[in-house]
Symmetry: C2
Subunit: 527 residues, 2 copies
Amino acid sequence: MPTADEIFKDFREHSIAEFFKKNRQMLGYAGMVRSLVTVVHEYITNSLDACEEAGILPDINVKVGQIAENRYSVTVRDNGPGIPKKYIGKALAMILSGTKFHRHLQQRGQQGIGASGCTLFSQVTTGKPVHVKSYTSTAAFECNLSIDTIHNKPIVSNVIDIDRDGTGIVVEGEFAGVKYENSEHGILEYVKRTALANPQVQISFTDPLGKEYIFVRSSEKRSERPKATKPHPLGLSINDLLELAHTSESRKLSSFMIESLARTTPNKIEEMQKICSFDLGKDPKQLTWPEAEELVKAVQSVKWIAPDSASVTSIGADQIKIALRSILNPEFISVVERKPQVFKGGIPFVVEVGIAYGGGSGRQVEDTQMASIMRFANRVPLMFDSGSCAITEAVRGIQWKRYNLDIDTQPISVFVNISSVYIPYAGVGKEAIAQEDEIVDEIKLALMEAARSMQRYVRGRQIKSIEENKYKTIMRYTKQLATDLEELTSTDEKEIEERLEKLIAKHYPKLKQGEESAQGREGSSAA
Amino acid sequence: MPTADEIFKDFREHSIAEFFKKNRQMLGYAGMVRSLVTVVHEYITNSLDACEEAGILPDINVKVGQIAENRYSVTVRDNGPGIPKKYIGKALAMILSGTKFHRHLQQRGQQGIGASGCTLFSQVTTGKPVHVKSYTSTAAFECNLSIDTIHNKPIVSNVIDIDRDGTGIVVEGEFAGVKYENSEHGILEYVKRTALANPQVQISFTDPLGKEYIFVRSSEKRSERPKATKPHPLGLSINDLLELAHTSESRKLSSFMIESLARTTPNKIEEMQKICSFDLGKDPKQLTWPEAEELVKAVQSVKWIAPDSASVTSIGADQIKIALRSILNPEFISVVERKPQVFKGGIPFVVEVGIAYGGGSGRQVEDTQMASIMRFANRVPLMFDSGSCAITEAVRGIQWKRYNLDIDTQPISVFVNISSVYIPYAGVGKEAIAQEDEIVDEIKLALMEAARSMQRYVRGRQIKSIEENKYKTIMRYTKQLATDLEELTSTDEKEIEERLEKLIAKHYPKLKQGEESAQGREGSSAA
């Protein structure tokens, strides 16, 4: 039998790249259809973030080509700022590296995994590197990228300088064990929803049969550059506070707090000093855990102004309306943009919802009409894991019948977007939002508000429909009655029929008007 | 607006420890009750693996103490081989390092995350290090452990040599944001289930109120040391094959395959050579992706002997029976151990199921009796995420009524264990088994087999219950009938009643016998 020393001879360390190679389902590479959507999602997300940060109106082209059974190429081209040669390897071929991990900034990507995950996925399924062309404002080059998974280091090869031509990148990869499908969970739907939630984006998609779909920019309004914000004291754990303090360059804990945290004034420091047993003028680098624990308790016992929501950029009710109208062409739209709220005490978020009725709204499942629930987090469509998502939970929690709506049978599209610097995802796959009570409740309130304004229209429509049915029923008898009356009175059947029709039309005058005004109504409110 | 060069100034790399600190729900630290169970689970799992590897009959003590609201200490002591001083830091305070990652060995832990995850969790919730005593066969020491999360490096402090006293380790940690609960998902249930699936283990648990529960060893049979096996060719992806070939020390691809892969004989090589366009005698280090692709196709087109299941160690029908009887004391047990099967072509697995009826089986939810489904993977209880697990899927897929069983109302415990070198978990949390068709089907077959043998007993019991009801109904009228007959015949009421009772007892003789033989019946089969 082996001793501890013998057993531990096999001891080894492993890289995060090795880990994700073994656990790639954690990154969304599970199932053939989903894996391909994940690739497209990662590249589009990166492009949108890059354009936003550089203040560029995004223009994105996505192309998926079939190479063999379950083997496809994906090419994504954007007009973003490009990636400098120095960073290209780490940006696209090193897991857990990027510009976003440590910033308090509302962006789609956050963890520095996405695009490098695609490189890893291409590599382990086809053995091929990913090919990139990068155009920055000062240089342009192309190269191949793969990952040394043992060390999680980028391998950059075949670097060639090329002619400059605007800015942006073109990424092209080949992936196996994947499948293109034109379904509710497919790439076309993903691209369409991206266009819906990002009206400032021009995006085109060419499917494996060569068919091109163009979603034109429906708004020239540049989306705001996300602003980095200071964390709000109420959102900090003891550990967060300690880490910030220990890396601070301030000489006093008090000045560190005033400079690095939101809403923290000298007055607040004074208030907290009265509660804390130690001197808040101490060196922040010397802050101990028990002191930090005391400080967090002090933070929780004084009153704070809610966090500034300037860090949260929403789509905006008008933009959502424009987008829903241009893509779904519905009979009626109701959009609600709520005021920023806060969860876990210090993290601001904004909920926006839209309900569209009729036109291209809803979805057909075989012969049945159903509602379509479109979930978004920071404008990124969430396509999978709907069962565990706060949005689904909220939609299910609404008594739709109360608003004369029925999400099981009517042509309804429900659009929900949550914006926050810190979206609490339920998993790394980032396809579902954790069911925090404060978030679920806020989505419900927004949905109820939108449903109420939708209700007026739907009720009008139902009354109209009842009248229409009466009208039709009576009209159905007109012909028979005319024939019978002809026999009785010897008056011409045609004449009687015409008179009867005129008589009926007199009693249902609203119907004619209704037919015209029903189209294109809309309701909206910004709470 | 910033250029690419300006944007990328913020570029940073992050360690896996930083990543899991931000995403700790991925390691099972989600929810207060679950987080505490996760800590206990990780330590017990490590202890069991260590004992098994060293050939020691495990003796484990778990103690949970409450320190404050939502703040607990966890102490786990085992009699395993101990951890050498040289490795203590990496083993317990460095994410993704361990002895198990690269071996083809059936063990509970696999990824080198578990215990280091506990250290990280303690640190970010309480700021405290974890304290360890380690006793190996040659040395003994204690120390404190924490993680430098920025670099994912262990911090070992206060190392003191102590007196030797057998072998084993004692780990003690303090955790906040957690909660002890005595529920179906709690620690007591976890420990009980661990005892159920590991009859060779002696395990005690002391709860926060100081109450001690001892689950005595019900079998002295040492569990077999897991054997490392060569991977079966049918289980290899192109990428797997390439990596093995490139790290091989063989001079020829053919000899590499014969030496490193299971079931690969010179005859098989010859067969595959006929299909492959390149020379299998080439240097394995020079194998290219297209060649590996060809080789994998060749592997799939020749016939193979199924993988050796020696690498899979199951619990065994007899052991399961002993354990279920000693812990649940049921009226009836039906246990089925199936033959090893293969999924994805090359990965062997074994399914064992047990159904227990009556006694302590099932569970009470308020006033309602329900079945309890106990899921295990390599004998580790799976307590959460049951909805997405292959075992739940299989249990739901059985038409229990067909076997005169009803999992919604009867006192039934369903025990399912899956053993494999490679358990396909649905997530890193490792609380659910992926719903691979081959696995779900195999569990269903095992359950149906066990249910069939259970059925005989249940049917007998139901017939008995009908007769009992008849007997009781008649007996209920005896008293009244005796009184009435006394009036009619002037015979003494008592006398009539006695005679009537004798008469009835003559017609229902089976009931008396039945009452005695119903206890302790059992059925089992090993397919």
